[in-house]
Amino acid sequence: MAVDPGLKEQVEAAIAQNPVLLFMKGTPEAPRCGFSMRVVGILDQLGVDYGAIDVLPALQPLREVTTELFEWQTFPQLYVNGDLVGGCDIIEEMLESGELGELLEVEQPADMQPPEAERILPGGSQTSPPMQLG
């Protein structure tokens, strides 16, 4: 698989520079995928500072890079302190068990539930992502 070496470097740098980084479809303000939206909702509710990268402008090349680096090809992907924690499934499981709050070093409200996937903006105009790759 021909991974774009420049893109791979950008991904590694972004992960190294952001203690909490979310690769997602769309932006935190305008998520374009229900799973990405759910992870954004969780991070926002926890009040965590995080970087976000919209993968849609370079979806396939980014898949190739994350597959090579982390054996993971679906988005969203949440990285904490340089490690891939997981996608929506894992984040929601960790929220339910309380592990997510521990990992992110924030107080996790006891009654917090994963948000429902109802707020996706269908085909809305795309705002510029917080960070651009590729």
């Binding site: 054996e71 993971w72 679906t74 891939l84 924690v85 997981g86 499934d89 894992i90 499981e93 960790m94």
Partner: protein, 78 residues
């Protein structure tokens, strides 16, 4: 359309002793695998998911499945 029984046996073959359930959560392309396996003990969640995905990789590669949600549990004690 994915063959749920085949997916189940692929996961069981990759993780001997595992308890596996594969369910269709709607439309034949939203699948969920619920896997309890002794191999998960002491393994991070992301690696547990990697093990399950690796077991069914061939069905992702040939396009029979697009999305597989995974729930993993390590073997209950006792």
């Amino acid at each position: 359309m994915a063959d749920l029984a085949e997916l189940k046996s692929m996961i069981e073959a990759a993780l001997p002793g595992a308890e596996v359930e594969v369910v269709d959560e709607g439309g034949g392309d939203h699948l969920r695998a619920i896997v309890t396996a002794p191999q998960f003990e002491g393994v991070s969640r992301i690696d547990q998911h990697r093990l399950v995905r690796a077991a069914v990789k061939a069905r992702f590669d040939d396009g029979q499945i697009h999305a597989l949600s995974i729930t993993t549990r390590s073997q209950p004690a006792g």
